[in-house]
């Protein structure tokens, strides 16, 4: 077993490299991804090694990046589109929702829309506006799409490769605040299927469910809680759509209580979906309603105060207290 330690950014870079090596039909396309290697350096060195025809520096137009990737898919290519930041995916929304999501159906299966849209998402990096958004639920809602998010370097390395190999279009959400955190990567085999929930920590009192940047926050909350004698189970909903509900159900049947965590505001969000599904599936096990810890219902704030917008350990523990106090 060959295990190496690297950052999530590097793991994504290596994963992309493997995919480019393995399949000549794999292309990367995006703004500044070639010579510059992307503003987060995720594609660093790849244009140099695979050429300008496979690692394509795009003119500045997101609808065109996705729209031409659709044409390339019809021609048999698998394009990994990089959106420079979450807030810049919206110009491509029409192509994603009306074409990427629907063309497999609309062509009665003749087209394979095996493309990946990489989305550095969520906040926490002290950026200016439009650079810290959480648009995952827009895509999760959309029939025809799949949405996943990595939370560790190992997952990043494997999930990006699995996503590229998959035949359905995938919105690949990368928690940009975790790009520079290191972790072990097993270069031999993936830890799990692409569309999985992953148990990150076992516990008995309350189940925490979240994804992306929130996974680390949940784990820190669990540490703190443990020191106070409260045992939290942590589930990484790394498959945001479809949700892999079975591990969540198993956990909630055990704990009887759960809290969802996300940076997006709560309205019609992934948290809402998890609450709706788990309430239905675990009704008799539930000792308290599921509570959502999320960003507030305001435009993402100036980054000097973003940590009071993003779910914090404190807010998660407050919610844990609430669900634990519910039936007492």
């Amino acid at each position: 077993m060959s295990v190496v330690t690297m950052t999530m950014a590097k793991a994504l870079n290596e994963g992309l490299r493997r995919a480019l090596e393995r399949d000549p039909k794999v292309l990367l396309m995006g703004e500044d991804i070639g010579k510059l290697g992307g503003v987060f350096r995720i594609t660093d060195g790849l244009q140099k090694d695979f050429g300008e025809d496979r690692v394509i520096d795009a003119p500045l137009a997101e609808s065109a990046i996705v729209g031409t990737a659709v044409g390339l898919a019809i021609r048999g290519y698998r394009t990994v589109c990089e959106m420079q930041f979450d807030g810049f995916v919206y110009p491509a929304f029409d192509q994603i929702v009306s074409q990427v999501a629907k063309l497999h159906k609309r062509s009665d299966g003749a087209y394979t829309m095996g493309l990946v849209i990489r989305l550095p998402f969520q906040g926490g990096i002290g950026a200016i506006e439009h650079h810290s958004e959480s648009p995952e639920a827009y895509f999760a809602q959309t029939a025809g799409l799949r949405v996943v998010s990595c939370s560790t370097p190992n997952d990043a390395y494997w999930m990006i490769q699995q996503a590229i190999e998959h035949d359905d279009p995938i919105i690949f959400c990368e928690p940009k605040s975790r790009y520079w955190e290191k972790g072990e990567v097993d270069l031999d085999r993936p830890a799990h299927d692409l569309f999985s929930s992953v148990l990150r920590r076992e516990g008995t009192d309350v189940t925490l469910i979240g994804y992306g940047s929130s996974v680390k926050t949940m784990l820190r909350a669990a540490e703190t809680a443990a020191s106070e004698g409260v045992s939290l189970e942590v589930i990484d909903a790394s498959s945001i759509a479809p949700l892999d509900l079975a591990p969540m159900v198993a956990s909630v049947e055990k704990t009887g209580r759960f809290v969802t965590v996300q940076e997006a505001p709560h309205t019609a969000s992934i948290g809402s979906e998890i609450v709706a599904e788990l309430t239905q599936r675990c009704f008799y096990s539930l000792r308290a309603p599921g509570i959502r810890v999320s960003g507030y219902h305001v435009p993402y704030p100036a980054s000097r105060i973003e940590e009071d917008y993003r779910p914090s350990v404190e807010r998660i523990l407050d919610a844990v207290d609430r669900v634990m106090g519910f039936d007492t």
Partner: protein, 356 residues
């Protein structure tokens, strides 16, 4: 003559005219074949309109008036070229070999597809204005990467020319020197919107500002459309980059069968364009220049008639699909919500179960 810069090889009266850059390369059989295509597609289109009027189609988007533009462009394509249509490109579909009944499936609302786009090298229709122009450029970028000598025809209307996607596709085609020919049928109207609102100078001139040639062709002159499109496609195939063709034509009918054009345009305008009919001029040419017999014309009419009859029969035979088919091809791979939906529908008993 509508515009000095318009490429025209055949006048509305059927007289040949010379053009400095283009001459017709077609012989009498070939011209007759184009004529036949136009007669047939017009007839089929009329049949579709009447099927809609009789409640057999949900909607129909007639092509009347645009037969020369579509047949000229469609026949200019090589077999390995690929086209990206809107919802009105029945003439192109015909040239690609797609069965008439397949063109009508989407309008009978029994499917969201209709034909195998990969087999006929003709994409499924795009209703969202402009989206397909980017697909065309992307496909063309794939051709480049494959090192193939193929070209793409991107179809759109005067109205769609205002959409960001169409305009971005010009930027991209130029940036990558993509083997794509933009073929805009300027039929003067986008539902009730006159093309004069979409562009203040002739549309074909827009191409130049993006770095590739634009050309305006008499869209009702099948000989001119054929030559202009053929040359642009050939040029694209050998690395010459994109061209934009504005086929200047007219939507003789309603936008769709749901539309009422009397609310926004005057009869006189339609009358003017009647005199520019794309079929009449070719018939005049064939008669005068090649002495084509009237029986030959009659044969085409009869053929069109029987195709129309077959179309009617085929359409009437298209039954309501099993609702369970809505779950097919929503995803390529397994998906729990698809399984859940399918199960629910089966339990509700509205379906006999998945045929697959």
């Amino acid at each position: 003559m509508i515009d000095e810069e318009l490429v025209q090889l055949l006048t509305p009266e059927g007289e040949r005219v010379s053009h400095p850059d283009y001459t017709s390369t077609l012989n009498s059989e070939e011209i007759f074949a184009l004529y036949r295509d136009m007669v047939i597609i017009r007839r089929l289109c009329n049949e579709a309109t009447s099927l809609q009027r009789q409640g057999q189609l949900a909607l129909w988007a007639p092509l009347q008036g645009q037969e020369a533009a579509q047949i000229g462009a469609g026949r200019a394509m090589a077999p390995m070229d690929f086209s990206f249509p809107t919802y009105r490109e029945h003439g192109i579909a015909w040239c690609r070999g797609i069965a008439p009944e397949d063109m009508l499936r989407i309008f009978r609302a029994v499917t969201t597809g209709g034909w195998d786009p990969q087999k006929y090298r003709h994409a499924v229709p795009t209703v969202v204005l402009g989206n397909q122009a980017l697909h065309a450029v992307g496909y063309a970028m794939g051709i480049q990467r494959d090192g193939a000598e193929e070209a793409v025809l991107a179809l759109f209307g005067d109205g769609a020319s205002s959409q960001g996607d169409t305009l971005e596709s010009f930027v991209w085609a130029a940036a990558f020197n993509a083997p794509v020919v933009f073929f805009c049928q300027n039929n003067q109207w986008g539902i009730s919107t006159p093309s004069s609102l979409q562009f203040k100078v002739p549309l074909y001139r827009r191409a130049e500002g993006f770095g590739f040639p634009g050309i305006r062709v008499d869209g009702n002159d099948v000989l001119a459309v054929y030559e202009v499109t053929k040359r642009a496609l050939e040029n694209a195939r050998v690395g010459g980059g994109p061209t934009m063709i504005e086929a200047y034509t007219y939507r003789m009918g309603a936008h769709t069968t749901s539309d009422d054009p009397t609310r926004y345009r005057v009869d006189a305008e339609v009358e003017v364009w009647k005199h520019r009919d794309p079929l009449a001029r070719v018939k005049a040419l064939l008669t005068r220049e090649y002495n084509t017999k009237s029986s030959a014309f009659d044969d085409v009419v009869a053929e069109a008639e029987s195709l129309a009859l077959k179309l009617r029969v085929d359409v009437l035979a298209m039954g309501r699909p099993d609702p369970i088919t809505m779950f097919e091809n929503a995803y390529a791979a397994e998906h729990p919500l698809i399984e859940e939906g399918r199960r629910e529908m089966i339990e509700l008993g509205v379906s006999a179960g998945s045929p697959a």
